[in-house]
C-alpha cells in the first residue's frame, strides 16, 4: 500500500488531496457539511502551502461560475458544496459540462430542504445526474482522498474534458476520523501531472466561448457532448487501473462482493456499502447466497458491468438514499431498471428508500432487506415494489 498511514476526516482528506493536486483556483462558499474543506484550503493558501487563488465568493452560483471562467482560462480548478449549494449551482452545472471545463467538485451529500436538514441524503448527487458531470461516489475517507486525486486526472484527460463530482456522505464521511494512506507529494506529481489546457482563453488566439446556438446546430453539439460522456468511460476505467497499480488500492467503476454465486443482491451508493457488505459477509457464512454491488462511478452509468454482475441473480434490492416524487421508483432504481429492461434474463427488482436526512442504516435493516430479497427470489413475485425502511409509520 503506497503512502503514509495517517488519520483524517473526509473533508480534511479531500482538502489535502486538492492541495497535493496543486490546484490553481478554488472558488467556494461555506455550507455544512462541506465547510471544513474550504477552511483547510484557505489555510493552505494563506499560509503559503498552496500557491493558488482562493476566491471567497458570495454564493455557490458564483462559486461555480467563477470555476467555469477559471477553467476556461486554463487553470486547474476546484470547488466544494452540498445540498442547497448544489441546487443554487444547478444552472451552471449544465454550462460547466457543455463548455467542456475540467472543474472538480467535492459534494458533501446532504438532504435538500424543506424541511431543512444538514445530514446525509443523496438528493444533491442525484440532482446532478443529468447535467453532464462525471459522478464518483466515495465509500470511506480513503476513497474520498483517492477519488479526488483521480478526478483531476479524469476530468483533464484529453479524451474526457468533462467536470467531475466526488460524492462523500455528509457527516458520515465528511466529519468522521478514519485511518487512511496519503501519498507523498512527489508521488501525486507523478500520478497527476500539471493540467495541459485544451484551447484555453488566449488573446493571441481569440475564441468565442458559449455562443448562441439555435436549432441549426444545438442538437449536434448536444450529441457531441453525449458522445464525450460515453467515451469517458474507457479513460475512467484506465485511470482507476493506473491508480490501483500505483497505490495498491483497487479501484473500478463497480465494487462487487459475493456476486460470483449470489442469488440475491443489494445495490447501493456511498458509505452504506460497507454496512451492506458487513451483513452480507455474515449471511454468506451461514450459507446464504447474497451479494453487494456498490458503484464508484455513477455517471457515466456502468451499464455493461451491472448487466454482467447481475447475470444469474434472481432478486435485487436497489437502495436509494433519496426519493423521486411521482416517479416509478427512486433514482438508482430507475437507472438499474432501465439498464436491465432489454436483457433476456434479468432479476426481479425492488426499491428500498433508506437513510433520508441522516437516519442510520443499521445492520438489522440490511439483513431484513436481504430477507425480503430472498422472499422475492423464492416466490418470483415483487409484492412491494418500493419499501421505506427505518420509518415510523
Amino acid at each position: 500500500m503506497r503512502g503514509k498511514l495517517t488519520g483524517m476526516n473526509g473533508n480534511t482528506a479531500v482538502a489535502y488531496a486538492v492541495k497535493q493536486a496543486e490546484v490553481d483556483v478554488i472558488a467556494a462558499y461555506p455550507i455544512t457539511p462541506q465547510t471544513i474543506i474550504v477552511e483547510r484550503l484557505s489555510e493552505y493558501v494563506n499560509n503559503g502551502e498552496l500557491n493558488a487563488a482562493f476566491i471567497p465568493v458570495e454564493s455557490e452560483h458564483t462559486a461555480l461560475s467563477a470555476c467555469v471562467g477559471a477553467s476556461l482560462a486554463g487553470a486547474r480548478v476546484f470547488t466544494a458544496t452540498a445540498s442547497q449549494g448544489l441546487a443554487l449551482m444547478y444552472e451552471i452545472l449544465w454550462i460547466a459540462s457543455a463548455l467542456r471545463t475540467t472543474v472538480v467538485m467535492a459534494l458533501a451529500n446532504r438532504a435538500l430542504s424543506a424541511p431543512i436538514n444538514i445530514h446525509c441524503s443523496h438528493d444533491d448527487a442525484y440532482a446532478a445526474r443529468d447535467t453532464g458531470w462525471i459522478e464518483l461516489f466515495a465509500e470511506n475517507v480513503q476513497e474520498a482522498y483517492d477519488l479526488t486525486l483521480q478526478a483531476f486526472r479524469i476530468s483533464e484527460d484529453k479524451r474526457v474534458l468533462l467536470p467531475t463530482i466526488v460524492n462523500l456522505d455528509g457527516f458520515i464521511l465528511t466529519h468522521s476520523l478514519e485511518g487512511l494512506y496519503v501519498l507523498d507529494d512527489k508521488d501525486v506529481k507523478e500520478f497527476l501531472p500539471p493540467k495541459e489546457p485544451v484551447l484555453p482563453i488566449d488573446p493571441d488566439n481569440p475564441i468565442t466561448y458559449g455562443p448562441l446556438d439555435l436549432y441549426d446546430y444545438y442538437i449536434e453539439h448536444k450529441r457531441q457532448q453525449a458522445e464525450a460522456m460515453k467515451n469517458s468511460y474507457g479513460p475512467i476505467k484506465e485511470i482507476h487501473r493506473k491508480y490501483s497499480e500505483f497505490t495498491g488500492r483497487k479501484y473500478a467503476p463497480l465494487k462487487t462482493f459475493g456476486m460470483e454465486d449470489a442469488e440475491v443482491a443489494m445495490m447501493i451508493l456511498g458509505s452504506s456499502a460497507g454496512t451492506a457488505r458487513y451483513v452480507a459477509r455474515k449471511l454468506r457464512k451461514n450459507g446464504k447466497k447474497v451479494g453487494v454491488i456498490s458503484l464508484t462511478v455513477y455517471r457515466p452509468f456502468p451499464v455493461d458491468e451491472i448487466r454482467e454482475a447481475l447475470k444469474g441473480v434472481k432478486a435485487v434490492a436497489v437502495m436509494d438514499r433519496s426519493y423521486s416524487f411521482g416517479s416509478p421508483g427512486a433514482q438508482l432504481y430507475m437507472d438499474v431498471a432501465a439498464a436491465l429492461y432489454n436483457e433476456k434474463e434479468r432479476p426481479l427488482l425492488f426499491n428500498v428508500i433508506y437513510g433520508l436526512g441522516g437516519r442510520d442504516l443499521k445492520p438489522e435493516h440490511v439483513a431484513w432487506v436481504f430477507e425480503k430479497a430472498e422472499e422475492v427470489a423464492r416466490t418470483g413475485e415483487v409484492r412491494e415494489p418500493q419499501i421505506w425502511i427505518g420509518v415510523r409509520e
Binding site: H61, G74, I95, L99, I201, P203, P206, Y209, P211, L212
Partner: protein, 312 residues
C-alpha cells in the same frame, strides 16, 4: 489621476476594429459603438465576458462570431462571477507559469446588472478583481421583448409596466448604479453616452489604467424598445444629457466631476416626445407624473452638483 492615452478629438480614436461587422444588433442601437470604442480604448491583451442579452445573441450566432478578442458567455446573472474566475486564474497563472494576464472587460445589460446580476457584481467589486464592468443600459429587458427592469426610468411604458388606465407606466425610480458601485469602494466609476464619444473614450482609458474593479454605466438608445426613430438615436442620447436626464459624471478616488455641466437644461419634453415609451406622459391625466419626473431630475442634478462641489 494622470493617465496616458487620453484624447481631445474623435480623430484620435484608433482605426482598428475588434468587433467585426455583420453582427445582428438593431439599426440605431447604441451597443456596437460602446463595444467598438471599448476595444479601441483598452489597449493590450484583453478578454470580454458578456451576460446573456442583446449583445450576446446578436454577435455570436453559431457558427458566426463578431469577436476578434477572446469572448466568454456563461449565463445571465453571472458575468461578473465568470469574469472573477478568469481574472483570478490569470493572476495565478501569471505567477506560476508566466502566462500574460489580459485585461478583463465585462459587458452586462441593465437586467443582467441592476437586477439578476447585482449580487454577482457586488461580490466581484467587494473582492477587488481587476476588471472593467460596463453596463449597457437600454432601460428594460429588450432582448426578451421590452420588460421593465430596475433600470427602467420612472414614467416609461414597457410590456410589463404598460401605460394603463390606472397605472401609467413604471412608477418607481431607477436604481443608482454608480452610487452602488461607489459604495463598494471602487476607485473609478462613471456614466457614458454615445453622443459624447471623446468623453466616453477617455473614461474607458481611465478605467483601463486602474488595477482593480471599475464600473461604467452606459446609456444606450434602443429604437425598438423605446419606439423611436433609429435615425435619431444620437439625437435622443444627446438630449438625455442636455435635459439632465442622464448626467455625464465621473467618480475618481473620492472626487466627483460633472463632465458636461448643463447650465441651461432643455425641457425634458423634448427628450420624451421622440420616444413612444413616454407618449402617455403628455396626456392631461398623467401631468402629475410628468411633474414628479421633472422634480426627480432636478433633485438628482442638485445632488450631483453637491457631490461635485459646484454651487449654482
Amino acid at each position: 489621476m494622470t493617465v496616458s492615452g487620453l484624447i481631445k478629438s474623435i480623430r484620435e480614436i484608433p482605426r482598428e476594429e475588434l468587433l467585426a461587422p455583420g453582427h445582428r444588433l438593431c439599426a440605431g442601437c447604441g451597443i456596437p459603438q460602446l463595444v467598438r470604442l471599448t476595444l479601441k480604448a483598452v489597449k493590450g491583451p484583453k478578454v470580454v465576458v458578456t451576460s446573456t442579452g442583446c449583445l450576446e445573441v446578436a454577435t455570436t450566432i453559431f457558427p458566426y462570431t463578431s469577436w476578434r478578442v477572446p469572448w466568454v458567455h456563461s449565463a445571465f446573472e453571472n458575468a461578473a462571477a465568470t469574469a472573477s474566475g478568469i481574472e483570478a486564474a490569470f493572476r495565478i497563472l501569471e505567477k506560476k507559469k508566466g502566462v500574460k494576464k489580459p485585461k478583463v472587460i465585462v459587458f452586462g445589460g441593465d437586467g443582467g446588472t441592476f437586477d439578476i446580476g447585482l449580487q454577482a457584481l457586488s461580490g466581484a467589486l467587494e473582492r477587488g478583481h481587476d476588471l472593467i464592468y460596463i453596463c449597457y443600459d437600454n432601460e428594460a429587458y429588450m432582448n426578451t421583448g421590452i420588460q421593465r427592469s430596475g433600470a427602467t426610468p420612472k414614467g416609461a411604458a414597457t410590456t410589463t409596466s404598460p401605460a394603463g388606465r390606472v397605472i401609467p407606466g413604471k412608477l418607481e425610480r431607477k436604481k443608482d448604479l454608480v452610487g452602488i458601485a461607489i459604495a463598494h469602494g471602487v476607485r473609478y466609476a462613471a456614466t457614458m453616452n454615445p453622443a459624447y464619444p471623446v468623453d466616453m473614450y477617455n473614461k474607458l482609458v481611465k478605467a483601463a489604467s486602474i488595477s482593480g474593479p471599475t464600473v461604467l454605466h452606459y446609456f444606450t438608445p434602443c429604437p425598438t424598445g423605446w419606439r423611436a426613430d433609429p435615425a435619431k438615436s444620437i439625437e435622443i442620447a444627446r438630449l438625455a444629457v442636455q435635459t439632465r436626464v442622464w448626467p455625464l459624471y465621473e467618480y475618481e478616488d473620492g472626487t466627483y466631476r460633472i463632465n458636461v455641466l448643463v447650465k441651461k437644461p432643455k425641457p425634458v419634453e423634448e427628450y420624451f416626445k421622440l420616444q413612444g415609451r413616454f407618449k402617455h406622459l403628455f396626456k392631461p391625466e398623467n401631468k402629475w407624473l410628468l411633474e414628479e419626473i421633472k422634480r426627480d431630475i432636478e433633485e438628482n442634478w442638485q445632488r450631483l452638483l453637491r457631490l461635485a462641489g459646484i454651487e449654482e
